[in-house]
């Protein structure tokens, strides 16, 4: 195992009120080296929060994140960062994640310098090399972000993340903001880089077709918990949790024109993370809920060696 996320809880206090946002409510996940873990789930279910905790931008309220037996305790932000910088984050938005007043070359160089990864005289050629890795030419160095297309900017973001020589790349919606035809390019690039450098990915996306394309293992999150976990084909082709089923049934598929039944959708209100329903958090929307569902929180239990589900009606 490389990355172990052990029962992580993250609460955000809300200013001027006593309530808290329960962003993560006990998440446990493992990623092995070279593997890609895909994370899907509703907007606001805590995906980006998890990403920020892993790279040390924030620390968990409770629980531990371990990287090769180095436990990252609460408040260990600096330790994480000065350490081997194992994890780097690529953000969703290629427009706001790059400094508009910094030339591309500078913005990559900055990372190499910050991590003290090259001798002074080697830095420039390293920048060129990184640009080449993401399929960009050397003359891009002198350009500013606004002079690049969305796809090019996302390539620069990836080059910048790679500059820190991470083992783990956290990709938070890396292609959502891109044009359809450009998305394919960036996805192909990610697949190539993974192979070339033996990288481990955590790939977060709303778009299940992208997650299907790249993941080995998929975790489905709902209101700060993992409700289903399994290999990509198990989860997508044989979903067991009622939420995963609804999610997959709702994917609009362009290969079947007009076939999607627009009238079926999950009924019920989406609960707010400040006020999570008792018992199974999904019970207010679940089509197969039984009275007991509002009393007990179902644990994530294996139904096969590699597939686990948190639903008391599925795992009996």
């Amino acid at each position: 195992m490389t990355l172990v996320i052990d029962n992580v809880i993250k609460k955000y206090p809300i200013r001027q009120s006593k309530s808290v946002v329960n962003a993560l409510n006990g998440i446990s996940l493992n990623i092995s080296k070279g593997q890609t873990l895909g994370i899907v789930g509703e907007s606001g279910c805590g995906k980006s929060t998890l990403a920020r905790l892993i790279v040390g931008l924030e620390s968990p309220t409770q629980g531990a994140i371990t990287w090769r037996d180095n436990v990252l305790l609460r408040g260990s932000k600096n330790q994480w960062r000065n350490h081997l910088s194992p994890a780097q984050l690529v953000f969703q938005d290629p427009y706001s994640s790059l400094n508009p007043r910094q030339r591309i070359g500078e913005c990559i160089k900055e990372v190499i310098v910050a991590h003290n990864l090259r001798q002074k005289e080697e830095i420039d050629s390293r920048v060129t090399e990184l640009l080449k890795v993401v399929g960009m030419s050397e003359d891009m160095k002198n350009r500013y972000p606004h002079q690049l297309s969305g796809g090019q900017r996302q390539r620069v973001s990836i080059a910048r993340a790679l500059a820190a020589e991470p083992e783990l790349l956290i990709l938070d919606e890396p292609v959502s903001a891109l044009d359809v035809s450009v998305r394919a390019d960036v996805m192909n690039l990610l697949v190539d880089l993974r192979k070339e450098f033996g990288l481990t990915y955590l790939f977060i996306s709303h778009d299940l077709s992208m997650v299907r394309h790249i993941s080995d293992v998929i975790a489905v999150m709902y209101l700060g918990r993992v409700v289903e976990l399994g290999t990509w084909d198990e989860v997508l082709d044989n979903p067991q949790h009622p939420y995963t089923k609804a999610l997959i049934a709702a994917i609009p598929d362009h290969s079947q024109v007009g076939q999607m039944d627009l009238t079926v959708s999950l009924e019920g209100e989406v609960p707010s993370p400040t006020n999570i329903p008792l018992g199974c958090a999904f019970h207010v929307r679940c089509p197969i809920a039984v009275p007991n569902c509002s009393k007990m929180i179902p644990q994530l239990l294996p139904i096969k060696s590699s597939q686990s589900v948190a639903c008391s009606e599925v795992v009996k």
Partner: protein, 321 residues
């Protein structure tokens, strides 16, 4: 059948130096019909939509063409009348929901104000407004009514804006990337809501999106834009099952199929689109097109109506049907 709205030969340019941003766009919709607009980023989808409402950003203007809505030319109409149409008969959901919301006013008051402004007669405005939030899946609608826009997540704001746009039962809903920020179950809820409105009230829709899965399942016809022009238009089935323009085909080929078992390399379209004002008398896709011939660089292919489908290409891909 008479169209509810029609754009004829609409071209948009920059005001300062007259650079052409869109050229000769023709779109027409009958009552209850839904048209999807897809295409490369920067191809002119948003500008086209904004021109209908007379809301083009500063520095950009209509160069030529006509926009007819219910028999009135919106380009020459009295501004007061246009304001009356906007919001009530035509409403729009923007790419960025914050542009439609007032940051210093509660969501409840904003919704009530919309009813008020257009003298919309409902028996119980408060519950009407609350119901509109429930329909778009806002959790805890009572609290939402008292909240300010910044207290919502991006996805929730977008739902508020959608609720607002449907409040007055418009004849035409223009939606610009309305569900991109939403996850698929909520997206489905929104799509089902607008589809219901559409069939119940014969609402027409102009739906702009990069999400081809949504387009394939929501609209009757699709227009594909590239570098400021419509390059192909047809029924949804025709566009998805037998695209004829090489760009449309490339676009579809670059998508992973949601239900496919294969995880092969994705096809992509090499190169970037040209600036629309630099295209001149040639096919704007020529530099990226694998079928380009000499003719493609010497003259401009125009849309040619063949039944319900038309394609702006000298060598369209043979239809498989």
């Amino acid at each position: 059948m008479r169209s509810l709205i029609s754009l004829q030969g609409l071209s948009i340019k920059t005001s300062s130096d007259g650079r052409s941003l869109t050229s000769d766009v023709n779109i027409s919709l009958i009552e209850g019909e839904a048209l999807g607009i897809v295409g490369e980023s920067g191809s002119g989808k948003t500008l086209t939509a904004l021109s209908i409402l007379g809301l083009l950003p500063r520095g950009v203007e209509v160069a030529s063409g006509e926009i007819n809505f219910n028999g009135e030319n919106l380009l020459s109409i009295d501004p007061e009348r246009l304001r009356g149409i906007r919001g009530k008969e035509i409403s729009m959901v923007y790419q960025d929901p914050m542009t439609a919301l007032n940051p210093v006013m509660t969501v409840g008051n904003q919704l009530l104000e919309v009813l008020d402004c257009h003298n919309h007669d409902v028996k119980d405005p408060e519950s009407h407004v609350k119901q509109s939030l429930i329909e778009v899946g806002i959790p805890d609608p009572d609290r939402a009514l008292k909240s300010y826009p910044h207290e919502f997540s991006g996805g929730m704001r977008q739902r508020v804006v959608i609720a607002m746009s449907l409040l007055l039962s418009p004849k035409l809903l223009i939606a610009d990337e309305p569900t991109t920020a939403l996850d698929v179950t909520i997206q489905r809820q929104i799509l089902s809501l607008v589809s219901r409105q559409r069939s119940r009230r014969q609402m027409s829709m102009l739906w702009i999106t990069h999400d081809l899965g949504v387009v394939a399942n929501l609209v009757d016809r699709v227009a594909v834009m590239y570098a400021g022009r419509i390059v192909e238009v047809g029924t949804t089935k025709q566009i998805f099952n037998s695209p004829q323009h090489p760009y449309t085909q490339g676009l579809l080929a670059s998508l992973p199929v949601a239900s496919s078992r294969s995880r092969n390399r994705l096809a992509s379209i090499p190169g970037v689109p040209p600036k629309p004002w630099l295209v001149g008398q040639s096919c704007s896709f020529a530099d990226r097109c694998q079928f380009a011939h000499k003719k493609c660089r010497e003259s401009l292919p125009l849309l040619d109506a063949r039944g319900t489908k038309s394609v702006a290409c000298f060598y369209p891909i043979a239809s498989s049907i």
